[in-house]
Symmetry: C2
Subunit: 474 residues, 2 copies
């Protein structure tokens, strides 16, 4: 402001003096003022402001997410809803006038929960119903199964058990997510093995089934599902997650009593199905052959509506590209939005996209994933080298007024990860929203549209569009 006043004063001074020589000098000074102002206006900051205004005033993200959640809902790979979501996404991208919209055929697993899913524990005559969800990929129970329950608190504890203690029993892995991690994804990461490998480890010792405490930091009645791994050389056993509330009650009950657990699930695996990644792009005007991919996953678990996981992520990226189009921002590189199919139980979409990109000899320079929910933005992380990190930190200033402060090293994401195998030079980025509420909803019936906040979603889309704008012109 002070500099502005000084320049204004100088101009006034030279105009007042009014001699020929001074007039020339005035022209020079005016030119300098012009240069100064062009500099001071910082085109980046005004573009970013326009991006945020578009997202907040004319944004489509919230209504798009409403359609995806309410008109389609849960959309597990191989389900009719997943195919409905593919069609919806294609139509939506076409309606936004992207340069090219295409469906990329892939093959996905097809697992279904079925109708029966019920369980309870029994102490003497007392029956206590629990809320459970089969883990994704689990075999069914083939009728009701019952067994004495044995509790362990971690996979390590289970592995140390003798098979005579486990044989023919139902193992209950009651590992609590650690509340003291500030980044909730770290707490999730340290608990993940009980869901991923609990069934294999329990079966190795002769267990007839496994029940896990839901991977959530909140204590409530919702069970949280998620994929498990089987091992072809180990007998497959049924596996389910019970709500954290039920896990606490069950753990208390088991302290002083012999507990019998009974459950029935008719989930099953069907033959693989054809499905699609949905791809839209804006062609680069300088380097059309160099591609920046942004995306999330279109599939979701079959409970709730996949609102945060990962409806928010695909809508973030869709909206980012729509904003580019709407503001007539012409990217230098080709920016491609990809709605990956099958992140939740196989990652066929991510793997196929990378493989096909390589087969087509495409040039992929960067990719960004949004798969951490639709919460208030905190920033971005990157797997790039020191120079790339320095660039990230150098752009942080553009986001200070938008409350973004995380510009750090970090992982890419499940969907874009396979690109690294084919394009070792690619830089992978993740969008980082606030993580505190994520595991209240993750893979649970509560992951519904109503739990996404409109402004938080819009700010995420604006942050991603702004980041991609800066990355593209780097």
């Amino acid at each position: 402001m002070e500099t502005k006043l000084t320049f204004t004063f100088l101009i006034y001074f030279f105009v007042k003096i009014n001699s020929c020589f001074k007039k020339i000098f005035f022209v020079i000074i005016s030119f300098l003022v012009f240069l100064f102002y062009s500099e001071a206006q910082t085109p980046d900051s005004s573009v970013i402001r326009s991006i945020y205004n578009e997202a907040l005033l004319n944004g489509k993200s919230y209504e798009d997410l409403r359609e995806l959640c309410k008109n389609i809902g849960a959309r597990l790979s191989g389900s009719a809803q997943a195919e409905m979501a593919v069609k919806w996404s294609e139509q939506k991208m076409l309606s936004y006038g992207f340069d090219k919209v295409s469906l990329q055929p892939i093959i996905v697993p097809h697992w279904e929960r079925g109708n029966t899913e019920v369980g309870w524990f029994q102490i003497k005559d007392k029956i206590n119903k629990v809320n459970l969800l089969a883990l994704g990929g689990s075999i069914g129970t083939n009728g009701l199964i019952s067994g004495e329950l044995i509790e362990v608190n971690s996979l390590e504890e289970l592995k140390k058990k003798n098979s005579k203690d486990i044989k023919n029993k139902i193992v209950f892995i009651n590992q609590k997510m650690d509340d003291t991690f500030i980044q909730t994804f770290k707490a999730y990461g340290s608990c993940y093995p009980i869901r991923g490998n609990g069934a294999v480890e329990a079966s190795r010792l002769g267990a007839k089934a496994v029940i896990i405490r839901s991977l959530s930091l909140s204590k409530n009645e919702h069970p949280h599902t998620g994929s498990l791994n089987y091992n072809d050389s180990i007998q497959k056993i049924p596996a389910a997650a019970i709500s954290t509330q039920d896990a606490e009650q069950l753990s208390t009950a088991i302290k002083n009593n012999q507990v019998t657990f009974s459950f029935e699930m008719d989930c099953r695996l069907y033959p693989e199905s054809p499905s699609f990644n949905v791809i839209g792009e804006l062609k680069g005007i300088e380097h059309p052959d160099e591609i920046i991919t942004i995306g999330g996953h279109l599939d979701s678990w079959d409970t709730g509506e996949g609102a945060h996981d990962d409806g928010a992520g695909v809508i973030h990226c869709l909206e980012a590209l729509r904003i580019f189009k709407s503001l007539k921002l012409k990217p230098k590189h080709t920016i491609r939005v990809v709605f990956f199919m099958n992140e939740e139980n196989g990652n066929a979409g991510g793997k196929s996209y990378a493989k096909i990109s390589s087969e087509k000899k495409e040039k992929h320079i960067a990719a960004l994933e949004s798969d951490r929910g639709g919460f208030a933005p905190r920033g971005f992380v990157s797997d790039g080298n020191e120079n790339e990190l320095k660039w990230m930190q150098s752009i942080a200033i553009n986001f200070k007024n938008y409350d973004l402060h995380v510009f750090d090293k970090g992982g890419g994401g499940v969907d874009i990860g396979p690109l690294k195998n084919y394009f070792p030079e690619i830089i992978l980025f993740s969008f980082v929203p606030d993580s505190q509420r994520y595991f209240d909803f993750h893979h649970a019936p509560s992951d519904v549209f109503e739990n996404v906040n409109k402004r938080e979603l819009e700010l995420g889309a604006a942050a991603i569009a702004s980041f991609i704008y800066l990355l593209d012109k780097k």
Copy 2:
């Protein structure tokens, strides 16, 4: 980690050599190692880690807020519930074993909404009910009143009107909060005058009542109340807020039609009542006469449960002091938690606390207010000078791993503001949580316990306790 290994190796090396000289050297090295570790452990960071662990693992904040919201609920000054909240707060502070707990008598206004509160607009034969709430302090309508509605979009537009256009009409001020402000409190600030002064300005031009669009960024069916100001020299007229959704419908209707608005409210002002600020403190061990006040307001509007506004704020501060007590942190200065009464409609609590503090010749060095909801923490702002700001910025490093990044200049708060009049040297701080969701709930029926997230609330209490810990030892 590497440094740790180097030191370990050095110790091992000197022990192995084993000569007298080397033994002396070993002692010196051990001492250096000790110094290095004392430094490396950074007592501040370990205390802050303990504070966060206590809040997240053994925290009482969420259950305390549940009691305040569910067992007491809305608690407007002068109401029976406000007095119930006073008793509850006193008992709660006593149960936590603070050094001193007291009730500070004050006099508060007593306004009641009454039972009847209904309104609708009519176009020809068509009746459209609206959701409305009397603005706090409004006079009642004394039976049903109806009038032709005239819409303006701001207080400035209203002020420019001729009295002949307004006379005997009902003024509808439909100013939309500006979505493009990233900090939602700024959007609120720029709309606040329509609620605070709308009735006076409309009455000055002869209007018989005023209806405002609720001050909220979300578009839904909830009306948002809040205090208005009357001016003794201008006729008092009834004033109410309608939901943002109703405001949009009404605005569309009025474009092409003459609209009649009708409403009835039997709200009224009762004689002033006695009430209390509730005060608990931990005595300072070095400067017991120097006081750091932390607090929020115990009263709330009479709709919803005052969960974010300001149940979260008082519970933040209560929990911060409980954590000090529980971790046996002995503050140098006296730390006083104050639950102020009557912030919402008069600020008798804040004004009285400052005045009484001055009369008692107390020494107040700093105060912190939490009155921006129980959302994920972002940081703190201060009204201090450059040196104080530098100190704020110097402590930011302690909070990096806890996702706090705002350490800036900013205002104190309504409750602690009056302290500045009596103690000009005092430094005022505000706790800054994320602001995106605040105005979805502010002064509305939706400000209930269920809309506060447990971890976000706990992290707020931990951030405040940690900040006060650093401030106290500064």
